[in-house]
């Protein structure tokens, strides 16, 4: 994957670069927002790690220009915003401007790499007809699921719940969010019904090592597949 790091703090930028290169990505680094905008307009990056506190053109402005220039063709460029500021408004503003994820400095590298993986996965899943999660593959066009290359029978609502969880691997998803995503089906869904679908999904997926964790009183999280 092709990554761009926009960070004016040289030690941090070089550290991030080496960590992400170790993950097997091709990484470019720039310290100026203007350069990032021009680089993104001429080349294609799968993901940009963007610091908000840049000199001159700040990260919000860079993000705004990224989104204004996005052509809409192909998978959208994912943007992970980094900030050292802690104002809640910053996060809201970043997400409003189209950031895909948000991290406050300092952060643990495993968390960063996990988020980067999740974003890249999302970028691949987006627009593509095929979602892959370890041994699980979903053909969203034909609406067919495969586990270890074997066809997997999923009821319509099981499919819907699984799609919601797959869109946010390693992120907790509230029951309300699942109900909302599945509510297009017309009738009322109780949280208990969601529990039933999740337990059915577990029964089908856990033998293959795919785990759905329960977050007590909140919802679920599809764990990253660890093989």
């Amino acid at each position: 994957m092709r990554l761009l790091i926009v960070e004016d703090d040289a030690p941090l930028a070089s550290g991030l670069r080496r960590i992400l290169e170790a993950e097997g990505h091709a990484v470019d680094v720039t310290s100026r927002g203007e350069d990032a905008v021009s680089a993104a307009s001429s080349e294609r990056f799968d993901l940009v790690i963007l610091d908000i506190g840049l000199p001159q053109m700040d990260g919000f402005e860079v993000l705004r220009r990224f989104r204004a220039a996005s052509s809409g063709r192909g998978a959208p460029m994912q943007v992970l915003v980094l900030t050292a500021r802690d104002a809640v408004d910053d996060r809201v503003r970043g997400l409003d401007l189209g950031a895909d994820d948000y991290m406050v400095k300092p952060f643990a590298m495993p968390e960063l790499t996990a988020r980067v993986r999740a974003l890249l996965r999302r970028s691949q899943a987006h627009g593509g007809p095929r979602i892959v999660h370890g041994p699980l593959a979903l053909d969203t066009v034909a609406r067919r699921a495969f586990l270890r290359n074997e066809p997997l029978e999923l009821a319509a609502r099981e499919w819907a719940v699984l799609e919601v969880l797959l869109a946010k691997v390693e992120k907790i998803v509230s029951k309300e969010a699942i109900i909302q995503a599945v509510a297009g089906w017309g009738d009322d869904l109780s949280p208990n019904a969601i529990e039933v679908y999740v337990s059915r999904l577990r029964a089908k997926l856990e033998p293959a090592g795919i785990r759905i964790r329960t977050v007590r009183g909140f919802g679920y999280m599809l764990e990253e597949f660890k093989g």
Binding site: P11, A22, A84, D86, K105, P106, R216, F218
Partner: protein, 449 residues
């Protein structure tokens, strides 16, 4: 020293009012005294004419001779005055005494009535020219001033009394009028009194009375300075946060990078120490910034915040922290709307959750709750860890205090921050035991919304 504006105003008003009173009395007195005394003079004049009519002129050895006999009717008039004594004197055209009181003084050239002293009394004298043959005799009629003085007193009194009443009324009106007039000032002071210390908006001078404007302008100037200082502090904190966190992020990145590379066990152990120290430093920096943010000067305008939403927004990060320590983090969330600063509330809850996870053993359970009890919104975090002994509960809220013998790498700032933020929101903190008298439960209860 407190000076009463009313007393001051009265002190200022009293001398001019007294002066006006005096002038008013004089102005009212003279116009009314004149017609009254003229009537008395006219009576004396009439007596003079009557007396003059009774002077008889005779020829005596080629010289004029004069005789006068007091007619009983006139004598009657002279005697019937109850208050005053009336004297008279008649002089011949040559100025010789004809009749009456010889001592009654004559003022030559006096055109009208005049005052004189006679028999040690003040008298009012009227002179009448009365025809005596070809010439004229001079008839003086004098009257003591008892009636006149009385009249003057009465007139003076009758004109002064309303004036004094008017003055008294004026003072009373001033006394209460000032209170009423200062009403807007009082409501202004009420408005200022009821303001939140965080509300540094200028006071609306348009609605205030004209006279208080200079005061308001000065006050607004001061408010603006305080607000500016507060904005400076917030800017400083934002910059300090950035300047501290970015190098720490770099340090953490390189330490973890070094740890991912082949190295001897000794080097790895040292790198791990560096990594732990970095994490602690980062956390400490965050806490100090949060503490500074919670200071009254740095606070921002309160907004409507639902604690449930605050927790939901952080739940993902907290769950990952908990999973890293094999702790089961759960939620029991009901709506809990409060007035406050979302950032600080998040910081307070993050500290409680962090503590609970930090002090839980592997496999422990931590529960975050939000909701309302008896109309009070609350948020609480409960764990099943070692808990806080009752004797230590008051002290753990102090800055940098740590319960003796506790493990972990805390700075002792977490609960102090929670306390600071809670008190800034008018909320109370309650430390207790978790379910089944195990572990620790910290609840923040907010004032009724």
């Amino acid at each position: 020293m407190a000076r009463s504006l009313r007393a001051h105003l009265l002190r200022l008003l009293l001398p001019p009012i007294a002066a006006l009173l005096a002038v008013g009395a004089v102005v009212a007195y003279y116009p009314s005294i004149e017609p009254a005394t003229e009537a008395y003079d006219q009576a004396l004049f009439d007596i003079g004419i009557a007396l003059g009519a009774h002077v008889r002129v005779g020829d005596l050895e080629g010289k004029q001779g004069y005789a006068f006999e007091l007619p009983s009717a006139v004598e009657q008039v002279l005697r019937t005055d109850r208050y005053d004594t009336i004297y008279y004197r008649i002089l011949s055209p040559a100025g010789f005494h004809i009749a009456g009181e010889t001592e009654l003084p004559v003022h030559e050239g006096a055109s009208g009535p005049y005052d004189a002293v006679f028999k040690g009394q003040r008298v009012h004298v009227v002179s009448v020219r009365s025809p005596c043959g070809p010439a004229t005799c001079l008839v003086l009629v004098a009257e003591t001033s008892v009636k006149r003085s009385r009249l003057m007193r009465e007139i003076l009194l009758s004109s002064l009394l309303p004036q004094m009443l008017l003055a008294a009324a004026t003072l009373v009106i001033v006394w209460f009028g000032v209170k009423r007039g200062l009403g807007p000032l009082e409501s202004l002071s009420e408005e200022i009194k009821e303001r939140s210390p965080r509300d540094l908006r200028p006071i609306d001078a348009a609605a205030a009375p004209e006279e208080t404007r200079p005061l308001l302008v000065a006050l607004n100037g001061l408010l603006e300075q305080v607000a500016e200082a507060s904005r400076n502090q917030q800017r400083f904190l934002a910059n300090a946060a950035h300047q501290l966190r970015t190098p720490l992020a770099g340090l953490q990145a390189h330490t973890e990078l070094a740890l991912s590379q082949p190295a001897s066990d000794a080097v790895r152990a040292q790198l791990e120490q560096v990594r732990q120290a970095t994490i602690r430093t980062a956390r400490l920096a965050n806490q100090l910034l949060a503490l500074a943010r919670a200071e009254p000067g740095a606070r921002r305008d309160p907004a409507r915040v639902n604690l449930k939403s605050v927790v939901e927004a952080e739940a993902d990060a907290w769950v990952h922290q908990a999973l890293a320590r094999d702790v089961d983090l759960g939620f029991e969330l009901e709506g809990a709307p409060v007035e406050g600063d979302a950032f600080l509330l998040r910081e307070a809850l993050a500290n409680l959750v962090h503590n609970a996870i930090e002090y839980s053993s592997r496999g422990g359970r931590v529960t975050v709750r939000t909701g309302a009890r008896n109309g009070h919104a609350f948020a609480e975090v409960e764990d099943d860890g070692p808990g806080i002994p009752p004797a230590e509960r008051a002290r753990v809220l102090e800055r940098f205090y740590r319960v003796p013998g506790t493990s972990g790498t805390g700075s002792g700032l977490g609960l102090a921050i929670v306390r600071e933020i809670a008190s800034g929101h008018g909320a109370g903190i309650e430390l207790g035991e978790g379910a089944g008298a195990r572990g620790c439960r910290v609840a923040i209860t907010f004032p009724r919304g």
